[in-house]
């Protein structure tokens, strides 16, 4: 699971709504995957990123060189975009858990795939 996906994932447990974000990340196995750099795509995703959640996740994974926020004119700053590319797309969480901040529900991550299946009681009406 890439950090970009983690930054957009939100708990859909019944009654949680917007308080289901961000999912607290715990990782036991992480891998760095080289991914082809596409500056257009990274620049387009920057406005969607929730920085507080991203910094918290990067901190949990002990990542270095993580920008603290979008800088002025980021669309043309290649160094900034490359750093964001690495953080968002190249860091892959293989084993760990995601925790819903409101309900405390744990979603396990196995082989890079988070299990988001809910039980009947937890499904939104």
């Amino acid at each position: 699971m890439k950090l970009l996906t983690h930054n957009l994932l939100s708990s859909h447990v019944r009654g949680v709504g917007s308080r289901g974000f961000p999912l607290r990340l715990q990782a036991t196995e992480v891998r760095i995957n080289p991914v082809e750099f596409n500056p257009d795509f990274v620049a387009r995703m920057i406005p969607k990123v929730e920085w507080a959640a991203l910094l918290e996740a990067a901190d949990t994974l002990h990542l270095v060189e993580v920008p603290k926020g979008p800088i002025e004119g980021y669309e043309h700053d290649e160094k900034f975009l490359r750093q964001m590319h690495h953080v968002l797309l190249e860091v892959d969480v293989l084993e760990g858990t995601l925790q819903c901040p409101e309900s405390g529900r744990l979603f396990p991550i196995s082989r890079g795939i988070p299990n988001m299946l809910l039980s009947d009681e937890e499904t939104e009406t």
């Binding site: 970009l4 257009d40 387009r44 969607k48 988070p114 299946l117 499904t123 939104e124």
Partner: protein, 281 residues
């Protein structure tokens, strides 16, 4: 696809139908791969994404990642959701570039509002129409799916869902729930005259309504006009039929030609067409 008379949805839930054996078909069977890839291509075409822009897309029922790979090849980034662990295992083996999630679309899409630039789904949504547990109400699950999908899409984004509706009531159930959730759009039917090639694409727009893309048809290649041509050519056909003896070989050939003109699927003419058979027939 495996059963001619029985639809897979009637046999049980998708996570059981798509087991290791079924997953293997999606990885090895070239015809399966070909059909799925073609449908993914058509769905992406109908999505009408801005040219040359890499987008972040959602693949509902991504399975073994066949459609996802097509998206990657076109330069897009994607996240796939599937309910079958066996299919996702197959996707992992194929080393897909998109992220995968194990989830049930009928429980909602667990993402923040405005996460995705578009959504495709290949041969998945019809599974929502059959209740597999006593507590399942298909209409509710469909609404939950569509309303959460509407939320996670960027305003003005589209969703193209290729599906196999069992009948018109099922299609209506699906479109009603999609409309309730706030979507506009409609169903594009490719090759409506052919039983095998016929494909349904539910095209949904989350912004103001725009035009529906044109469906594919066999006659598109010949560039036929929509209006019928008024010529005297029709008269000879009727004369030709009158002269023929019923059930003779010529009559059979003429009938087959007539059905081909109507656009139906007709077996090719061979030297066995209309041959004399034993009186037992």
């Amino acid at each position: 696809m495996a059963f001619r008379s029985k639809r897979p949805e009637h046999g049980g839930p998708p996570e059981l139908f798509y087991d290791k054996n079924e997953a293997r078909k999606y990885v090895q069977n070239s015809r399966m791969i070909d059909v799925q890839t073609k449908m993914a291509g058509r769905a992406l075409e109908l999505l009408c994404l801005p040219e040359g822009q890499p987008c972040y897309l959602l693949d509902i029922g991504c399975g073994s990642g066949l459609s996802g790979d097509y998206l990657s090849d076109e330069g897009h980034y994607w996240v796939g959701i599937d309910i079958s662990p066996a299919m996702l295992d197959a996707a992992l083996d194929r080393d897909t570039e998109g992220d995968l999630l194990l989830g049930d679309m009928g429980q909602g899409i667990p993402f923040r509002p405005g996460s995705f630039d578009g959504c495709i789904s290949i041969s998945a949504v019809q599974w929502l129409c059959n209740a597999n547990k006593k507590s399942d109400i298909p209409a509710k699950r469909l609404y939950c799916f569509f309303s959460s999908l509407y939320s996670v899409l960027v305003r003005g984004a589209r969703a193209v869902l290729q599906l196999y509706p069992e009948n018109s009531e099922q299609l209506e159930l699906i479109t009603t729930q999609a409309t309730k959730a706030g979507f506009t759009g409609g169903v594009v039917v490719d090759f409506p005259n052919s039983a095998k090639a016929k494909k349904f694409y539910l095209c949904l727009f989350s912004g103001p309504s725009t035009f529906l893309p044109k469906a594919l048809n066999e006659s598109n290649d010949e560039e036929e006009t929509k209006e019928s041509e008024f010529t005297s050519e029709r008269v000879p056909y009727r004369m030709a039929r009158r002269g023929l003896v019923r059930k003779s070989r010529q009559w059979v050939l003429e009938k087959k030609a007539r059905r081909r003109r109507q656009g139906r699927e007709v077996r090719p003419d061979t030297l066995y067409t209309g041959r004399r058979r034993k009186p037992r027939f």
